[in-house]
Symmetry: C2
Subunit: 267 residues, 2 copies
DNA sequence: CAGTGGTCTAGACCACCTA
DNA sequence: AGGTGGTCTAGACCACTGC
């Protein structure tokens, strides 16, 4: 019935940018137009096409140049602003935040240890320490909405920043969720991929508790250093789309090496 | 030239809701339509009009009922989803997240101690301990982009959750930003109001470093408890719209009383 | 007063789920 | 097949800023 939006008659298409027309891009790239715009702008900020502290082109200019609607430009800009990378001033303009680099972690990605390590400028790697099946403790059963002493898969892993051990991560997952042979599990994968591959589940949201603690002897054998020093303990609960508890995690985080820093911005 | 959008002919206006027409509401309420929708939905979730775990009305139904466009409904829903209060499933529907209450802090509000205490279900109050002027240390001068040993205003305050002392907060602000008499400063106000009232500045963004530490003797005299226990240290830098550093803060956070928990959700 | 970001509308098409 | 959320467009009006 309805025809696809007519495009291609823009004047100023002055960049290398290639955006697909209409909603076709969902097929071609698997990326939304807004995300493509976001990436383009992010790159321009990083390579200082838009230099730190300077004023960026206006929304209308960007929408003309990139051949997308202003609304689309705005969703991309909103994401950048939420992460503190740009500052927007009504009646004035949009400015590149020169302090963007000061932050290691963006809004609430506390559960994604790989991203956290990357955000600190290190190369992350994961060492798979152990995996076992054991009955759930009472607390675990409650938090995971299981019957008492139902079977769990307990995974222990060590995260490295470059060559240095920085996070000791313990995870427990209900055995009942497993969809592939127990023996096939590769514990050195990203937690998101582990859930995808062996449990056929997607992580929908996470609740992270941040606590301080003394490191203790056991964790110290992995992370080194003084056995009475204070560390951060990130206690994570992961949930699936259907609100099903997927896993619990306890991450011992050595904040003498890694910074945990967050940006918050307001509109 | 153009006429205000015609409204008022909706059929299903079945609720108590009163929304202003067009953009007039900006004058009347100081709230955007999207925020009003957000508040309405939030209230319905809290009072269990939409009960935990149940499916909410579709976007179209809400937009019909409330008399706003679907886009507006979507921005409100997006905010709720980002805070983990609802779960959205394409091709299915929007569900109330029964685990919403498990979180005390929402995305990155780490700098707002009053909100943090409220999020834990306590009544917050602020006790003003001391205020003084002193030259900046080298580190402080650097972080605040000042000349070495320029004058600072140093503020020390103690935050209570109900009757219990939970956070010791030290803040330093460049004296040069002060716009009102030094003597008039009321240190028991919310930090946002202090900036508004005495410095004529608005906080645009914050960068928070989360570290663990041993509490030490001094803080212990305020917060009580064992003097060798681990606590959280939130180091905050506040910036204004023009990217000007406004203040530094060091918040000693007793996590044996207060939880610091964050929700993260994905679309 | 012109230009910028902020908000809202109305309508279109898509991908996905459930039945 | 029908409905739901996900994305995008085009156009309008507002509030604020700086000249």
């Amino acid at each position: 019935m309805k025809v696809l939006v007519e495009k291609g008659t823009k004047k100023k298409r002055q960049t290398i940018v290639i955006l697909q027309v209409g909603s076709l891009m969902n097929f071609v790239q698997g990326k939304t137009v807004a995300n493509q715009v976001d990436e383009i702008l992010l790159e321009r900020i990083r390579d200082e096409t838009y230099s730190p502290g300077s004023r960026m082109p206006s929304e209308s200019e960007l929408s003309d140049e990139l051949g997308v609607s202003r609304a689309t430009v705005r969703t991309a800009l909103a994401k950048l602003a939420a992460n503190g990378l740009i500052l927007r001033k009504q009646g004035d303009g949009t400015y590149v935040n020169a302090r963007a680099r000061d932050a290691s972690a963006f809004l609430g990605n506390l559960w994604d240890l790989v991203e956290l390590i990357e955000g600190n400028g290190f190369k992350p790697s994961i060492r798979f320490l152990s995996i076992e099946r054991r009955p759930a403790t009472e607390k675990e059963a409650f938090a995971l909405a299981l019957e008492p002493s139902e079977d769990l898969i307990a995974l222990r892993r060590l995260f490295y920043a470059d060559q240095q051990a920085v996070i000791l991560a313990d995870n427990v997952i209900p055995s009942s969720l497993l969809r592939e042979p127990f023996e096939s599990i590769d514990g050195s994968l990203h937690i998101r991929d582990i859930f995808q591959k062996y449990f056929h589940q997607k992580i929908a949201f996470a609740i992270t508790d941040i606590r301080s603690a003394v490191i203790g002897e056991e964790a110290c054998t992995y992370l080194g250093g003084e056995s009475d020093r204070a560390i951060l303990k990130l206690q994570v609960a992961l949930y699936g789309k259907n609100n099903l508890p997927l896993a619990l995690g306890t991450n011992i985080f050595d904040d003498s090496v890694l910074r945990l820093s967050l940006v918050q911005a307001w509109s």
